[in-house]
């Protein structure tokens, strides 16, 4: 029986959280009037017609998500960590959390951004940034299919793009984006990973210039930029090939063309009204904003012909080397820019209703689906019609000198009355599209060819992005769609004001979508990517080869351990192996010394990291992978004896994996002395 409060909670969820005044969802309106009559009577006799969990989940759901102990999931999914700044990895269909990959935030679990080796990864032109906001992900592709090499991630706040290596599941590279006000329209990629894209969400004055804040100043001074980041196909290393400078507006999401539309990139926009304040109202005035279509092959030709301008700027390029185990930062001082008013005919605008979010290209590459957050329909554009319209110059005008194609000329058709608040669309490779609806909390399945609605299922609650594994590629795996919801509310046991976010797994194998599973996620899941596990798992790095360790402070075996002093800098070359640290007794350190513990894990076995912690170290701890060297900086503030130990359970004698650092007052003559002492009790010869 529905509890008296349950219906009210559900409806309250919808009103509070959607924060809109135009709720017209028929179930809601119907029920709202009933509520007005008698809440108690309603609760007793009339259920909210939003499906409850019991009715939405049919009997065989459990067996479809059950992955027996010791068995593997069929898919890896990589899920953005939103405001956590990290990326999480889940197995599908089980929904089991496999790993959190630190990318744009310090990570206390493994020392990313805390240890001396990885601090440079979070360096920017504005210093060390410990926490960012991570929204979208893109798996590398070859011929429009996942190739399992890399995963790209955007930092939404301080504009950056990261590359994660899918052998080690570590962030290997972070590239800062100049002339960007917030890297939202990113990191979508072309079908052979030629480019990763970085489009600015906030228009800003170019070159970090100052300008007054008013709608007039916005129109006069603010610009949007799109950076095309080239990717070295061997190393994966990224570099900004060129930037396109666009009129000031907000770039939201983007997708590369594929197949016939390969060579083009499409961006959704909002705030083409060009407001600097109260965008909630001021950026929602026009019936239509734009989809920006950029012919990047033509842009490449302009760059090759020397048409791009060198602009002085500054941005960081941080890379992690798995042989030195260290990250280094390089500061790049210029960027090439292309102005569509000077180099003509490679940028076009297509009107799209109304503040579009999703801008998704179907697996054939022919159809581009715009999802206007405030629109009551979904426009589907045809790439062929777009190119025909460009050839015939079927334009309705210009926007700051850029041709605007006539809406009807580019349109394949509209999906009528699909739901409220369409956000994002993915595809199953069988001619069907799946669009998320934030306001009406549902996924709608429709046919691309005839634009007919085929099915709809509720989500709990307020879905943002959705993801079909491979759903943005030429060959979607087409088995599941996963909803990434903004609101969890009553779905799990309550944990105070702060709740986990939620994902929901649906089967799309049959004609009707079927809800299979809820599972919590870290941070806020925006977009995600899913790939067959078989494309990644066998290339997995299990250890780092100690013989290839080129860390400048590595200890190649215990014989190489030592402690050195230069001025007030003390370097401790330490090794860890089950189950002792060498040296484990260190004397001669003074208050105020900068002590660097360089801990080399001598293990060469999978899943045997060692941890390292020193009492009252106000920086961090370490977690050191087999064959790796990691460094903790410790500046003791008071004299005394400081215990240190291994923090990651490693063997039956893990608890014994400990030692002492003696810290003397500044200026004392205690000599440096170190070692791992004589065996005690007296040695016993083993047979």
């Amino acid at each position: 029986m529905l509890k008296p409060g349950a219906f009210w909670n559900l409806c309250a969820t919808m009103t509070e959280l959607n924060n809109i005044k135009i709720i017209t969802h028929k179930y809601f309106m119907k029920n709202l009037s009933i509520v007005a009559l008698s809440l108690v009577a309603l609760a007793a006799t009339q259920g909210c017609k939003m499906k409850s969990t019991e009715s939405a989940v049919s009997g065989d759901a459990a067996s479809k998500v059950y992955v027996a102990p010791g068995k593997y999931d069929e898919f890896y999914t990589f899920v953005s960590g939103g405001f956590s700044g990290q990326v999480s990895v889940y197995g599908i269909p089980s929904g089991r959390l496999l790993k959190v990959i630190p990318v744009f935030s310090q990570n206390p679990e493994n020392g990313y951004g805390y240890n001396e080796e990885t601090k440079p990864m979070l360096q920017t032109t504005h210093g060390f940034i410990p926490w960012d906001d991570q929204h979208h992900l893109a798996l590398s592709q070859t011929n429009g299919e996942h190739d399992g090499r890399w995963l790209f991630a955007n930092a939404n706040n301080s504009p950056r793009v990261a590359r994660i290596d899918l052998k080690s599941f570590t962030t290997e590279e972070v590239l800062e984006i100049p002339n960007s006000g917030g890297n939202h329209s990113s990191p979508f990629i072309t079908e052979n990973t030629e480019y990763v894209i970085a489009g600015t969400r906030f228009a800003i004055p170019i070159g970090n210039a100052e300008a007054s804040l008013s709608n007039e100043s916005f129109k006069a001074n603010f610009k949007s930029t799109v950076s095309f980041i080239g990717v070295n196909q061997e190393s994966g290393h990224m570099g900004i090939s060129f930037q396109v400078i666009l009129p000031g507006m907000d770039l939201d999401l983007s997708r590369a063309g594929k197949g016939p539309s390969h060579g083009w990139f499409f961006f959704s926009t909002y705030n083409t009204e060009q407001a600097s304040t109260l965008l909630e109202v001021n950026a929602s005035q026009k019936d239509k904003d734009f989809i920006v279509a950029i012919n990047w092959k033509k842009a490449e030709e302009y760059v090759k012909a020397g048409k791009a301008k060198k602009m002085a700027t500054e941005y960081y390029h941080n890379t992690l080397n798995h042989e030195t185990h260290m990250a280094t930062s390089e500061i790049i001082k210029e960027v090439l820019t292309l102005d569509p008013n000077e180099s003509k005919d490679f940028v076009y605008l297509i009107p799209c209703p109304k503040s579009p979010h999703g801008c998704d290209v179907d697996p054939t590459g022919e159809y581009i689906v715009g999802s206007g957050k405030l629109a009551a329909l979904i426009p589907v554009f045809s790439f062929k019609k777009i190119t025909d319209a460009i050839a015939a110059k079927t334009f309705e005008g210009e926007y700051y000198g850029i041709p605007v194609i006539k809406y009807e000329a580019a349109l394949h058709g509209e999906v009528k009355k699909p739901g409220l608040g369409p956000l994002h669309t993915e595809f199953d490779g069988k001619g069907n599209a799946y669009t998320s609806f934030f306001v009406s909390s549902e996924i709608v399945k429709w046919s691309i060819k005839d634009l007919k609605i085929l099915d709809r299922v509720p989500t709990y609650y307020s879905i943002g992005h959705l993801m079909v594994p491979g759903g943005d590629t030429k060959k979607p795996y087409g088995k599941y769609v996963i909803a990434y919801n903004k609101i969890t509310k009553d779905r799990y046991l309550p944990t105070g004001p702060e709740l986990a976010q939620s994902a929901q797994l649906y089967s799309i194998e049959g004609d009707k979508m079927q809800l299979l599973l809820d599972f919590p996620t870290i941070g806020e899941p925006h977009y995600a990517q899913g790939i067959l596990a078989s494309k990644i798992k066998d290339q997995n790095v299990k250890i780092y080869d100690i013989n290839k360790n080129k860390h400048p402070y590595v200890s190649m075996g215990e014989k190489a351990t030592k402690v050195t002093r230069v001025g007030n800098r003390v370097d401790v070359y330490m090794t860890a192996i089950r189950s002792h640290l060498t040296p484990d007794n260190i004397e001669g350190v003074q208050v105020g010394d900068e002590v660097y513990f360089h801990v080399t894990n001598l293990e060469q076995d999978w899943d045997v990291p060692h941890g390292f912690a020193v009492k009252h170290a106000d920086n961090a701890e370490l977690l050191v992978m087999p064959g790796e060297t990691a460094t903790l900086k410790f500046v003791p503030k008071k004299s005394g004896v400081y215990p240190f130990y291994c923090t990651d359970f490693c063997s039956a004698l893990h608890q014994e994996m400990q030692g002492y650092l003696r810290v003397s007052p500044k200026g004392t003559a205690t000599p440096l002395k170190w070692g791992t002492g004589k065996t005690d009790p007296e040695p016993v010869a083993a047979k």
Partner: protein, 163 residues
């Protein structure tokens, strides 16, 4: 559809499910795959034939004299990085037993199998298990290559006075 009806339907469904409790039908086992320990099957065959050579791919190791100096040197390097933390070159036990006399106590095949097939040996070989009971720390699998293992064996023989 009323809540009540739904609830009753669910209840009856639950009862039906419950009444099938003794059913031997297995839950879906087909999701994904398991990682197979490579070479484990071969390893067991060897074990069955001669326990004193241990379990692994080495059933015959050719030894020769005089010792190969290149291998001794490579073996010592590998020892320093991967073994010396726990094994002394004397007969003194540290974490593991000292290496003095090891080539007299063990067949070369057993040594080669132990250092290259550590986990299987610790789980199944009686001699290795007996050592684990004394040392109480599982010998780490140090991922030795075949060449490294053979060099270590040469270094052990050198340490035991073989010329």
């Amino acid at each position: 559809m009323s809540r009540k009806f739904l609830f009753l339907s669910f209840l009856s469904f639950a009862l039906i499910v419950a009444s099938c409790g003794g059913n031997s039908e297995q839950p879906a086992q087909t999701q994904g795959s398991t990682l197979k320990e490579p070479g484990e099957d071969d390893a067991n065959k060897v074990a069955a034939s001669d326990p004193s050579v241990g379990i692994g791919k080495y059933d015959k190791v050719e030894l020769s004299t005089p010792l190969d100096n290149g291998m001794i040197k490579a073996g010592e390097q590998a020892y320093d990085v991967k073994c010396g933390s726990c094994h002394k070159l004397t007969d003194e036990k540290l974490v593991g037993p000292g290496w003095k006399g090891v080539t007299e106590r063990r067949k070369p095949e057993w040594i080669m199998n132990f250092v290259t097939n550590v986990d299987v040996m610790l789980d199944k070989d009686a001699e290795a298990q007996a050592m684990l009971e004394v040392c109480m720390v599982r010998m780490p699998n140090q991922n030795l290559s075949d060449a490294e293992a053979r060099s270590l064996l040469e270094f052990m023989r050198h340490n035991d006075g073989v010329k």
